[in-house]
Amino acid sequence: MSGYLIAFLALAALSMAYLGNSRAKATHNGAAGKIHSRPIYHGLNVAIWTAVPAFVLLLVWLVFQSSIVNHLVLSGIPGSENLDASASSILMSEVRQVASGNLFKEPSPEVKAAADHFKSLQGIAAYLMAAAVAVAAAIGAFFGLKVIGSRYRARHSVELSVTLFMMFSSLLAILITLGIVFSLVFEAFHFFTKVPFTEFLFGLRWEPQIAMRADQVAGQGAFGVIPVLYGTFLISAIAMIVAVPTGILSAIFLTEYSHPRFRAVVKPLLEILAGVPTVVYGFFAVLTVAPAIRDLGIALGFEASPNSALAAGAVMGVMIIPFISSLSDDAFAAVPRAMREGSYALGATKGETIRKVLLPAALPGIVGGVLLALSRAVGETMIVVMAAGLIAKLTVNPLDAVTTVTVQIVTLLIGDAEFDNPKTLAAFALGLVLFIVTLILNLIALHTVRKYREKY
């Protein structure tokens, strides 16, 4: 329905633009003399007046329609006033299932009546929406066409509309952040009404599955975030141990030692590593790296878990190499030539120049890059979901399985998501932790990189 309405609006805008354009041309050639704006602006103006208010109305309508219909249907069911929020949402989804014809068992007469009520309301709502949108478009078109005249500044009006759209678009970035913060805080707040805040923050056990049992009282230490955070940092640390030296050394080789032609071939190849989807790395970690590490461990006499932290961390590290490499590359390029040449003039070799002059000078930039990479490793999801473990454990053995924040978020939310049990809400609390940790890392890193850029 809404798809047809959008098509209708697009068509209406197009035809109104044509109409406005030709009417403006007629005015231009008529007795009133030259018009202020070119005809096309009059056409565009009419099109904007026709489509934009109607489109906004459509969006607002779609946002509110389902909750209003639900409310009307629920108030029509006898005895529904006494239900709490989750029970009424279950009832509502049952009504919706019956209305769409998915019958698993014969519904009760009340539900059946409600389903009929629901269907008729939906039909009415659809007609009302179509009528409202059409009327809004017609009113807009009427006024848009009416104002066409020799003195009307159509261009200014169009430019104002465009500017407003651009301002709204740039505000959207803030809206997205606010949306993230509010949704996470809102759901996490629900979680903390069921599980004490201190238990979550300082608990040493993470066993969210236990809380699914009806007789389980949530918050008996089963939602302690420490082991999950610990696992995240163990895997990220392994990733950084792989990525930081490799990334910096390859950047040194590419910027300082290699032939330009070698660099032109190798740098894009390295960038491919960053472009490979993470789900591919995850599959590779499971299929190739983890068994290899396991066999190696057995050959050396160690017990290696099939989903060891080492496998996930190492593969994640390789993914991050190009990231660190290109950021270090930028940092080296920002060091002034004079410093490098001064070092050569004193007789230092290339290696000495790099180690004693370039690296210290580029260090803030490299540190910023490493922090950004760390934030990426902490937030990386697919590799760990596929290759790391599910059980939270406090261990320093990299051959053991640990779990991470992102793994827990995904496993808690895969499948059905009801917003009222602590298991689902815990995922949002973890999401909040993840967001805050990565936010701090990003802000420090962006600050360091920017400040350092200003220095030279």
């Binding site: 261009r155 465009v162 651009m166 301002m167 678009s169 740039s170 505000l171 970035a173 997205i176 952040t177 949306g179 993230i180 949704s183 030296p245 490799t246 050394l249 040194i252 080789f253 590419l254 030692y257 190798v266 190849l269 390295l270 590593l273 472009g275 490979v276 989807p277 993470t278 789900v279 591919v280 790395y281 995850g282 599959f283 590779f284 299929l287 190739t288 190009p322 070799t349 290339k350 290696g351 000495e352 790099i354 180690r355 934030s375 937030g379 999801t381 697919m382 979901v385 596929m386 995904v410 939310l413 895969i414 998501a417 999401g431 993840l434 967001f435 990565t438 990003n442 802000l443 962006l446």
Partner: protein, 433 residues
């Protein structure tokens, strides 16, 4: 410090004999350290590229076999079969197919026959039914049907089952291998290109599972993502680059965008789950929600890329336009934006390629459902390519290992294509000022 002063200080120091053995070995050490650093760098690069090579070759190695599928080509004479033409869908297709298969190896006992039928996909009846419903003229005489072999026998045909392993450790019995060899001897087993991989939707049986649902789900999601993020991203970038006053608010927006670009993708999934599914009540698993979440994710990157390319257009262009009386909007939309467009398009395609490979947020909004038909629009439940890969990677059947690798190769193929278009656009249309 003056020259004389420094030479005064050097009075007590003996002159250095640069040719002494001490100095020679010192020089040697210094040069060796230099070469070591160079070698370390080369090793780092070789490590990274070697990993890439192993990654690609292991995917090709495990995935190439999934691009062919072993099938039995069987001739069935439907004119003699007892089929009610008015109710094609309800006919005994199972009996028809089994009869035709029985005719290939006649004289099997009942239990042997059961083993024999295990060799073919259990959905052979539906394949024949759908072919006949699509073309009823097949009822009038003999026609050939292509029936895929079941997964263990597909692997046997591809030589992935070692016949020397003890029978108890294989999924195919010696007797079935004997029957298989008889069928091969009759020449009805062949191994054509596996079009089903591209045109079938998902299935529980590896021999029938394909990517059609995932590809169209990804297509719809990316379409939604592009339709939203492209205009909004460009508009935001133009405002911030050309119109915005320098104040606290625009500073905040700028920091915000840079930070959003580095927020983990799974957090966007949580946002989509809470806001689009929870508050707005949008349908679960639908490409429209996937596309919305992906567009929120690509928006910051797109804004950054667009701003850079707007900045690279020389200001003389703007000044010339303003000089001949264009308004600020006209200068931007008629002159600067068209000149920056190739770079913006390149950036947009690369961001879309990123969005195509993204799976974590899609998992959270349920685009990992088991769905056996491709979606017809943005409101129908579907999967996407990366989430399909994730689901297949989790499947226990052996045949899905090869399918997963093949699906990854298909995904990488799309990514190479998109990046190739982006590079082409850049080289063909980008201006250097």
């Amino acid at each position: 410090m003056s020259v004389t002063a420094s030479s005064d200080l050097n009075v007590g120091v003996p002159a250095i004999n640069w040719q002494s053995d001490d100095m020679k070995s010192r020089r040697k050490r210094r040069y060796a350290a230099d070469r070591r650093l160079q070698a370390y760098g080369l090793v780092a690069i070789i490590f990274a590229l070697g990993f890439l090579a192993i990654l690609i070759s292991s995917l090709v190695y495990t995935g190439n076999s999934a691009f062919t599928q072993s099938v039995a080509t069987i001739e069935i004479d439907l004119s003699t079969a007892d089929i009610d033409r008015t109710k094609l869908a309800d006919a005994d297709w199972r009996g028809v197919v089994r009869g035709a298969l029985r005719a290939q190896l006649p004289g099997l006992s009942r239990s042997d026959e059961r083993k024999y039928f295990e060799m073919f996909t259990s959905s052979g009846q539906f394949i024949v039914r759908d072919a006949v419903v699509a073309d009823p003229s097949r009822l009038d005489g003999k026609s050939t049907f292509v029936i895929p072999l079941a997964d263990p026998f597909d692997q046997l045909a591809k030589g992935q089952v070692n016949r020397d392993t003890p029978e108890s450790q294989r999924r195919v019995t010696d007797q079935q291998i004997g029957m298989f060899d008889q069928l091969v001897g009759k020449g009805i087993i062949s191994r054509p290109f596996n079009w089903a991989l591209f045109f079938n939707a998902d299935s529980r049986f590896p021999e029938l599972a394909g990517l059609a649902g995932a590809i169209s789900g990804s297509f719809w999601s990316l379409l939604v993502c592009f339709v939203i993020s492209f205009p909004v991203g460009i508009a935001a970038a133009i405002y911030l680059e050309e119109f915005a006053p320098k104040n606290k608010l625009t500073d905040l927006i700028e920091v915000n965008i840079n930070n959003l670009a580095a927020v983990p993708s799974v957090v966007f999934g949580l946002l989509g789950l809470a806001v689009f599914l929870g508050w707005f009540g949008m349908p679960r698993s639908a490409p429209i929600v996937g596309g919305l979440v992906l567009s929120l994710m690509t928006l910051p990157t797109l804004i950054i890329v667009t701003r850079v390319s707007l900045k690279s257009v020389p200001s003389s262009i703007r000044e010339a336009a303003l000089g001949v009386g264009a308004s600020k909007h006209e200068a931007i939309f008629h002159h600067i934006l068209p000149l920056a467009m190739p770079t913006i398009m390149t950036g947009a395609i690369i961001s879309l390629a990123r969005a195509l490979g993204e799976s974590a947020p899609l998992l959270l909004i349920g685009m990992n459902a088991f769905i056996t038909s491709p979606p017809d629009g943005v409101f129908e439940a579907s999967t996407a390519l990366p989430t399909q890969i994730f689901m297949w990677a989790d499947s226990p059947e052996r045949g899905f290992v090869a399918r997963t690798s093949a699906a990854i190769l298909v995904l990488l193929g799309f990514l190479v294509l998109m990046n190739g278009i982006a590079i082409f656009l850049r080289q063909r249309f980008e201006r250097r000022w």
